[in-house]
Each structure stands twice: as structure tokens, then as C-alpha cells.
């Protein structure tokens, strides 16, 4: 590969929120952020799993207030940039205003892959505030590359410095990633990024495919900590990139140490597993938003139906990111079909 360096955007502290049901300890976050910073990660994302103001019954409330997480991490970063995620429809510019002065320098604005125009006002605002701005096109497996290009252009037109192909469902195969990243690279002047989920065990392979097709930024998280079967595991990704001659600013050993000494013990302590179990696999197989996983497992218990049946039905109904409320809807419907009453409690 050439001399170009790939920008690594860590999501351990944001996508990882999903895996922890948003119950991150401030101290864990600070320690992990420090280690990521020292290991040379370029950008570190800190937000509720569902973006700013994601604190809701629908998505789960985080243990502490958003501002506390963000300012605690901001205090310890020496080199890495701090980023926040915003999903228009959930969070607003007002929510962004509350945190932007806490040390944030990158704003990522996420929409479903066909709805880029709802992000225009947020991208413009962030740009005016001097941010590095990323457009984040979620569930990108659902539309063909040519359609994705049209949406990416809306974000670029609003001022985005980079547009991401986001495999929220972990449903893409390496060729799907290649086609989409290449289409964006061929048609946009801004940078292009890729965000993987590991539901089909392709998180690293897909990220490699993205870089081989011109991606400038890649998301990953230590131990893959993230929604569904997690993201591309950062320490593995960097090892693979190293072997492939792909340059980054990251130090492999330091990332391995952070994964081993900080993240894995935290997961053990919190009783959190990020694995490709039958339910996570079903997400990738059916093309369902990875964040639905734990909510679907809970609904499965509450209403006595199989998690996979819930997930497959959500996929059939073409539910998009943010529609966690439809998990209960589907579970209740499936329970009724089985002749079960919905009882109190």
C-alpha cells in the first residue's frame, strides 16, 4: 500500500455502550480513553450508544449524564480528538450545543442510509462551529451503491468532511463493502469511512476490504465491544493492517494490552459477553440493526418468544435504526399468535 495513513476512529466508549446496556463507569471510560490515546488512536467517540440524548426508555438510560462522560474523557486526552455522535430525530442541535464546548472536535451525524437530508442542518451547524464533520449512513446494506452515492452527496454538499458506509446490521460481505466504498470514493471529493459489525464474523475482513477500496477512516473497538456481535476488534484490526502493510498511527502492543488488561476485565466484572451467538448471528443473517439485540433478548424473556423470531420479523418488516419500540410490538404479536396472554409484569 502507499504511504497514506488510515484514520482510526475508536467506538469502544460509544458502540460499547450498547454492550454494557449503557451502564459504563466513568472510571472505566477514563482508563480506556487514556490507553487508546497513548496507543495512537486518532479519534475517540463518547456518546450514548444511540447518540446524543439517546437516554430514553426506548434505548435505555445510561448510568451517568452524557456531559459527565464526555467531559471526563476530554480531560485525559492528550493527542486523540474527541468525537460525539448525533442521530437527528433523537438528538438535536440544542443537545449538541450542550456538549460541543467540552472539548469535542469531531461531530458524526448519523441517519438511515436513505434519509441524509434530515442531517443537513446538523452538519451545517457543526461545520460552522469549526468541527471536523462526518456523515454516517447507517444500514448501508439496504440500498445499492448508486443510491448510497446520492445520499452521500447530500451530506458532502452540506459540508461533511467524510461520509461513512455503516454496516449497522453486520450484514455485508467483503464485496458489498468494496462496491459501496469504491462508489463513494469515485463520486465524492471528501473522505470515506467504514463502520463494521461483526455479526457474520467479517468485521476485520470487511474493514480490510474497505481500505483496499480507498477508505480513509475505519471504526473499531477494543475486544470488539459494541452492539450485536460487536464491531471490528481494534487490536485485531491493527494486527491485520500491519500484516497487510496498511499504515495507521496505532501501536499494536499497547492496544493488545488495553484490550487484555482493561476492557476484558471490565466485561468480566460487568458480566458482559460480546459473541456471535445464535441471536447475534441472526442479526447479520437477517440484516437487522445490531443495537436491537439486547432489547430483543429482554423482550424474548418478558413475552416468552424466541429472540430469533423477533429479529427475523423485524428484518421482514424492514425496521430501521431507532425503532426499538417495534421489538415489543413484534414480541407481543408473536406471543398472541402462540395464544399467550400479555400479563402485567
Amino acid at each position: 500500500m502507499s504511504d497514506r495513513k488510515i484514520i482510526i476512529n475508536d467506538v469502544t466508549l460509544r458502540d460499547g455502550m450498547h454492550a454494557l446496556s449503557h451502564q459504563y463507569e466513568i472510571e472505566d471510560m477514563v482508563q480506556i480513553a487514556k490507553a487508546l490515546d497513548e496507543a495512537g488512536v486518532d479519534i475517540i467517540e463518547v456518546t450514548h450508544g444511540d447518540g446524543l440524548a439517546g437516554n430514553a426508555i426506548n434505548y435505555g438510560f445510561s448510568k451517568y449524564e452524557e456531559e459527565r462522560y464526555i467531559s471526563s474523557v476530554a480531560e485525559v486526552l492528550k493527542r486523540a480528538k474527541l468525537d460525539v455522535l448525533l442521530l437527528p430525530g433523537i438528538g438535536t442541535i440544542e443537545d449538541l450545543e450542550k456538549v460541543i464546548d467540552l472539548g469535542v472536535s469531531v461531530v458524526r451525524v448519523a441517519t438511515h442510509c436513505t434519509e441524509a437530508d434530515i442531517a443537513i442542518q446538523h452538519i451545517e451547524y457543526s461545520k460552522n462551529r469549526g468541527m471536523d464533520v462526518v456523515g454516517f449512513l447507517m444500514m448501508a446494506h439496504m440500498i445499492p451503491p448508486s443510491e448510497l452515492v446520492k445520499q452521500a452527496k447530500i451530506m458532502e454538499g452540506a459540508g461533511a468532511d467524510c461520509v461513512y458506509v455503516v454496516d449497522s446490521a453486520g450484514a455485508m460481505l467483503p464485496q458489498d463493502v468494496a462496491d459501496r466504498v469504491k462508489a463513494l470514493k469515485d463520486n465524492l471529493n471528501c473522505q470515506v469511512g467504514f463502520h463494521a459489525h461483526h455479526n457474520l464474523s467479517l468485521g476485520v475482513a470487511n474493514s480490510l476490504s474497505a481500505v483496499q477500496n480507498g477508505a480513509d477512516r475505519i471504526d473499531a473497538s477494543l475486544c470488539g465491544l459494541g452492539a450485536g456481535a460487536g464491531n471490528a476488534p481494534l487490536e485485531v484490526l491493527i494486527a491485520v493492517f500491519d500484516r497487510a502493510g496498511i499504515k495507521t498511527n496505532c501501536d499494536l502492543y499497547k492496544l493488545m494490552d488495553a484490550a487484555e488488561e482493561l476492557v476484558r476485565p471490565m466485561m468480566k466484572r460487568k458480566g458482559v459477553e460480546v459473541v456471535i451467538d445464535r441471536d447475534a448471528l441472526s442479526l447479520g443473517y437477517a440484516g437487522v440493526y445490531s443495537s436491537f439485540l439486547l432489547h430483543a433478548k429482554r423482550a424474548s424473556k418478558r413475552f416468552g418468544v424466541d429472540t430469533r423470531d423477533i429479529l427475523l420479523e423485524l428484518g421482514r418488516r424492514k425496521m430501521v435504526g431507532g425503532q426499538e419500540d417495534m421489538i415489543v410490538d413484534v414480541a407481543v404479536e408473536l406471543a398472541k399468535k402462540k395464544g399467550k396472554e400479555v400479563e402485567i409484569g
Binding site: 437516554n55 438510560f61 433523537i90 438535536t92 438511515h112 437530508d117 415489543v328 410490538d329 407481543v332
Partner: protein
């Protein structure tokens, strides 16, 4: 001023997008007291203006200026329905006020007090500007109110999912205003102590029917009593939006078993989390039936408009 010999109050619609066009059809077909005299748009090629012309209604594509130029119409009109965007209404509202016209605002600009027909339909007839919150607000606030009239509601949260096709450029540019205004409405009219609103656009084909999920955190209460209150409110809304339906009976999760902790607000360990799943099928007037979000908004606007018109008519009768 006006009130013509046909005994109807004259009105205009500003905004010829999805909402404005749907409202036009409703007024044209069903209104007892309203006569639409002009449809105001900004795009000469808009479908809404073309339809208005076919119905024999005057149109302008020069926006509000196109209407103001027509002094004859300005003099006759008593009610202006604003179906543009929050930003546009902030600019237009002072003009309407200056003219002394009643503005019924279908954008989330929220200059005037909120009106949700089954909760406070007749409350602000003395005002010159009333606001209809948002489609999500019209859909969910009656449910929050149905719970809060029985038991204190510490927190209400709603998720509105609408078909991408039913969300025009106004809605898309207003997405922040949507969530903020809806959340305020959950508190001000719904009676919750704190509110949160979420909107999701879903592009699935065939388009999804508008869905709304209402979550409330309540004090301890009798679930049957809350359920009855919800059912009777559904019947109230059905009177003007027949496609307003519960997808299942309300779901009660006891908070002693599933406590909820909201950072910066409080921990709730007693009472219930009540989940209400709604589906709203539209009347299919302008967009097809999936667009319940149009129907609930324009039906509310028509109801409010009729009431204002009745009041204006009775005042005029008295004046004679």
C-alpha cells in the same frame, strides 16, 4: 369584514406540500363553516397547487406576498392555516397578527398556545395564533393525557415512526423542532412532568403505516382504571381520525420489578411503566392510507378551524 352569504368563513392555506394539500381536500369536501379561497405555494410546479387549480381554488406560487397582493382576498379572509415550516411561520406570524387574522399553525413553530382537540379543543378561541404541535404530538398527547388524568405521570416518552414518503421537505428541515415541540406538548398538554420525543423516518416499500409508541412512568395505580381511560380516549380521537387504533392492550411493567433510573432526574421503583402501541391509518385523502401522520394533523386543524369559524360567524350575527 367577510362572512359571505353562503354563511361560511373564508380561509387560505399557506404551504402547498403534503400537509397543506391534505387539509385542502378535507376543507373542500367536508367543511361546514370554512370556504377555502386560496392555496399559497412557492413552487409553480407543486402538485398541491395543481390540485387546487383543478378544484377551482385560486392559487399563487409567490408565497405569502402573492396572497398579500390580492387585497380583495385579504379583506375577506378570517383564518389562515400555516402549513409551511417552523422557520417560515416565524416570519409570517407577525404579518397575520398585523392583519388581525386567526392563524392556525400546523408547523412546530409553537408561537401560539398548543391545541390538541380531545384534550383542550375550545381552550384558546380568544387567541389569534394557535399551534397544533406536530403530527406525533397530535397522535400521542391524548394518550399521555389519558394516563395522567388518572395517575401522576413522572415521565412520558414517545416514538413516532412515519413513512419516508410522507415526510416532505418541511418536516425534514424541521426535525429538531419536531422533537422539541412534541416533548414540550407532552408536558404542557399531556400532563407529564418531563417529556421526550423521538421521530424515525422509515423508507420501507410498501410504505409503513404511521406508528406511535407511548411510554409513561406512573405512580402506583390501578392498571384497569388507566386502561379504561386509554380506551375511552381512543374513542374520542376516533371521532375525527377513524384510523386511530391500539395495536394491543396497554402493557404494564411494574417498576418494583423493572426499576427505571433516569440520570439527572430520578429513580422510579414504584408504579408502572405503561407502554401504549398505536397505529394510525390515514383517510387516504391526499397521500395513501399509510400517511396517518397527515391525517391526524389535518383532521385536528379542520376541527380547530371549524370551531374558530363558528365563533366568528356567531360574532358576526351578533354584530348585525
Amino acid at each position: 369584514m367577510s362572512a359571505e352569504k353562503n354563511g361560511k368563513v373564508k380561509c387560505v392555506i399557506v404551504g402547498s406540500g403534503n400537509i397543506g394539500t391534505d387539509l385542502m381536500i378535507k376543507i373542500f369536501r367536508y367543511s361546514k363553516n370554512l370556504e377555502l379561497v386560496m392555496m399559497v405555494g412557492i413552487d409553480p410546479n407543486s402538485d398541491g397547487l395543481a390540485r387546487a387549480k383543478r378544484l377551482g381554488i385560486e392559487t399563487t406560487y409567490e408565497g405569502i406576498d402573492g396572497f398579500l397582493k390580492r387585497k380583495d382576498l385579504v379583506d375577506q379572509v378570517d383564518i389562515i392555516f400555516e402549513a409551511t415550516s417552523a422557520k417560515a411561520h416565524l416570519q409570517n406570524a407577525p404579518i397575520y397578527r398585523e392583519l388581525g387574522k386567526v392563524a392556525i399553525d400546523l408547523t412546530p413553530a409553537a408561537i401560539g398556545p398548543y391545541v390538541v382537540p380531545p384534550v383542550n379543543l375550545g381552550a384558546h378561541l380568544d387567541k389569534l395564533n394557535v399551534n397544533l404541535i406536530t403530527c406525533g404530538g397530535q397522535a400521542t398527547i391524548p394518550m399521555v393525557y389519558a394516563v395522567s388524568r388518572v395517575v401522576p405521570v413522572h415521565y412520558a416518552e414517545i416514538v413516532s415512526s412515519v413513512a419516508s414518503k410522507s415526510a416532505g421537505p418541511g418536516t425534514r428541515q424541521n426535525i429538531d423542532e419536531f422533537t422539541q415541540t412534541t416533548a414540550k406538548g407532552l408536558v404542557a398538554i399531556g400532563g407529564a412532568r418531563k417529556g421526550k420525543a423521538i421521530i424515525i423516518l422509515n423508507p420501507a416499500e410498501p410504505p409503513i403505516i404511521m406508528r406511535n409508541t407511548v411510554y409513561t412512568i406512573t405512580d402506583e395505580c390501578d392498571p384497569d382504571e388507566v386502561t379504561q381511560s386509554i380506551y375511552s380516549m381512543v374513542d374520542e380521537v376516533k371521532k375525527y381520525v377513524p384510523g386511530y387504533n391500539l395495536k394491543s392492550e396497554p402493557i404494564f411493567d411494574p417498576l418494583d420489578k423493572y426499576p427505571i433510573r433516569i440520570p439527572g432526574y430520578g429513580e422510579f421503583k414504584k408504579g408502572y411503566k405503561v407502554t401504549i402501541l398505536l397505529e394510525i391509518e390515514g383517510a387516504g385523502h391526499y397521500l395513501p392510507k399509510y400517511a396517518g401522520n397527515l391525517d391526524i394533523m389535518t383532521s385536528a386543524a379542520l376541527r380547530v378551524g371549524e370551531l374558530f369559524a363558528e365563533k366568528i360567524l356567531s360574532e358576526k350575527t351578533l354584530a348585525k
